[in-house]
Symmetry: C2
Subunit: 438 residues, 2 copies
């Protein structure tokens, strides 16, 4: 039941490149293929690119969701042969070289798969229903609403144990997202003291749960130890060698059998590739990632590339870790390889240039590794913010985020403490709706 | 089944003023009662104040919803005796002097009712289900999402009549909101030309429907005539003496029996007071507004005030029209009268000082009446923006809106063209959710 589409006619003109997914990698391919002579079609289910590294700041009322979203049509309108299609991709048919969306069929000459990753709940019962993941803009706004709601509820709650439950925040996973989230919650707590003068803040606790015995395991162990000390100083309870057995609406059950009443659980633990459905499933590696050649082409598919979190790549015998710079550099490399193929040349292997790694903790502290040098404290914190400001797409967004940071880190204030409620919000009201009211 | 609350103990200390509703009027009362010696409790269902005059700009992708929302706890934290309670008010019991929320009972010595207005669909079948009102922040974001979605759908739609339907926007009501919305849609259309190079813009139409034979009927007729000419010049089809008989998902049926296929209907027609439920219903006037004495006290209730859209007031024999400056001035007056009562003095009559009226059209034009002087064109347009920037609460919000205006009106761009979809957004996902994907 496919409706004919303006995009479904086979291209009789220039060769057509279809890019599925407009994250770091996909958007980069589209930009790098401008003026290549090829017709480029960028497909995403959203009409914006999400700047994933700052999602945790949206969840913590630091910045507006709009300032880390970049309209994809702004990207494509710069070049005549590049177009955008907002659609859910249903299936990929490698044999017939078509991408099927809900209501159209898109033939391609070259295909770039950049559909990223998705949350994987590791089989923990209740996690999918009661824990908040932090991978999309809507999820970060939902988490913001939920966190603020918990403070409002706690202020009205006369029973102490219930109040403690409402004010207990559990973060599952000690990678960058878990660390950022724990750190920013301690900052949020400080800024909310003026808002809730009647709350006893000793009733609030932030718990970070990690299965191993260090944080930020993709960085040298020393940086993980520093991060642990810093978070504990900020008031976070860091639990090592702990797994989550079950999550309910009101509590978290740990692997040692203990039960912690908690009002909010943030899931920052598991990820897997967001593999598109295909007629013939390509070879996958761990976490359902697609195996690729050194050129980023799929095994046995000369005209199909996979990049970013979707692709399994190795360098010097070690797997790539799925950070944004890898996806960006792969996007440039894929565009270069497609240009080479268009000229009849062979694609070249991709090599990731590691410029260093940074992680932000909170309380004006971060960690980093630049070449052989390890950094801790204020300098890597400032570097983290600067680098992300530079990589954030769009001048306007950069300015908005900068102003929010100057205000927020300067005054210790969180100006976007807004509960744009899920119920009323974003659904069309079916009857009368009140304004500015009780 | 009322849970005891921290707020439900009768005040043994200072007299307690409860303010229900934190719009223009309610928030002003809270601010003006600071340091009055009274305990002030501001109650609203949202944790933010909404700057209603700029909602249409949120709907038109001009400004972020966050920049016209102001956290109410920022208002109350400035004074020790002022507190905020986020709650839905269920009932008011004037006899026992208590306000009942979902989970608490709030005794009061003085009560200020400021619950504003709500959309009234005037009995038009289908209006509540298919038309978009524009009275709350969530509604304006829902309308933004819907409008942008229509353009995405139109670009993918191969059938011309379906495309025309998707690109037909009907606005019901020729007051300020209807005029603003029609004007801003013409600006949005121009800024979207670059985004959708394949659309034939002659297929798009913006229709403004008015039951009478002039626009902006609260202003002198000449200004309404100018507004009509200006909107028509911008490309809006203005239909006078036309009512809407029925609204369906795909069309609007007019009073002359004609049927217009339309993808979007904005309801800017009817309003009525958002009356709280009460044991003994006070006397009401037209549009369910509460009758008040000249002092803004309810008839027969010395310690209950009503202001803003909720109250029916007259001046020089003519009813007040329900604009923001009236609510603000009434807020100041009520605070003054409660202070007088606290000192044992009699409340004084309220007099509205009309500093003038402005309305914005679009295309750098507006209209206004300052004293006896009528203004049209660029000057009242600039004055409208300036006045609203000054009245917008919060320095940060003012700066954000100003930057957006400089960018938007300067470049003709609408940077916040983001479809933060209702389905996925703001609900907790129940299973895997993809990121940056197809």
């Amino acid at each position: 039941m496919l409706i004919p589409s303006r995009f479904s006619t086979p291209s009789s003109g220039p060769p057509r490149v279809v890019i599925v997914g407009a994250g770091f990698g996909g958007m980069q391919v589209a930009q790098s293929l401008a003026h290549s002579g090829a017709e480029v079609l960028l497909v995403d289910r959203n009409n914006y690119n999400t700047f994933v590294p700052l999602l945790y700041q949206v969840a913590a009322s630091q910045i507006e969701p709009e300032s880390i979203a970049y309209p994809l049509r702004t990207v494509v309108r710069r070049t005549a042969l590049t177009r955008f299609l907002m659609a859910d991709v249903k299936k990929i048919d490698f044999e017939h070289q078509v991408v099927e969306t809900v209501n159209s069929v898109l033939p391609y000459d070259y295909l770039v798969l950049a559909t990223g990753s998705q949350t994987q709940y590791l089989g923990v019962p209740g996690a999918a229903d009661h824990a908040f993941p932090l991978r999309t803009l809507d999820q970060s706004v939902a988490l913001r609403n939920h966190i603020l709601q918990r403070f409002e509820q706690a202020e009205q709650e006369p029973v102490q144990t219930r109040r403690q439950q409402l004010l207990t925040f559990v973060i599952v996973g000690g990678g960058p997202t878990g660390v950022e989230m724990a750190g920013t919650l301690t900052e949020l707590q400080r800024s909310l003291r003026h808002d809730y003068p009647n709350l006893d803040w000793r009733e609030m606790q932030i718990v970070l749960v990690q299965s191993g015995n260090n944080l930020l395991t993709n960085l040298p162990a020393r940086l993980g130890h520093y991060t642990t000390r810093k978070l504990r100083k900020l008031g976070v309870k860091v639990h090592f060698q702990t797994r989550v057995n079950r999550i309910t609406e009101h509590s978290v059950e740990f692997s040692d059998g203990s039960l912690l009443p908690a009002g909010t659980v943030v899931w920052a633990a598991g990820l897997e590739a967001a593999l598109p459905t295909a007629e013939t499933v390509p070879e996958t590696a761990a976490k359902r990632k697609l195996k690729v050649q050194s050129t980023l082409q799929l095994i046995d598919r000369e005209n199909v590339y996979a990049i970013g979190d979707l692709a399994y790549g190795e360098q010097n015998g070690k797997p790539l870790t799925g950070v944004a710079p890898e996806a960006l550099q792969q996007g440039v490399a894929v565009a270069r390889n497609i240009r080479r193929q268009l000229r009849g040349q062979a694609p070249q292997p991709f090599r990731y240039l590691n410029k260093g790694r940074l992680a932000i903790i909170g309380g004006y502290a971060g960690v980093g590794k630049i070449g052989p040098i390890l950094l801790t404290g204020f300098l890597p914190w400032l570097m983290w913010l600067s680098v992300h400001l530079v990589y954030l797409p769009g001048f306007r967004n950069r300015l908005m985020v900068l102003l929010n940071w100057l205000h927020g880190y300067g005054h210790g204030d969180r100006p976007i403490r807004l509960i744009l409620t899920p119920k009323a919000a974003f659904s069309r009201p079916s009857s009368h709706t009140r304004t500015c009211t009780s």
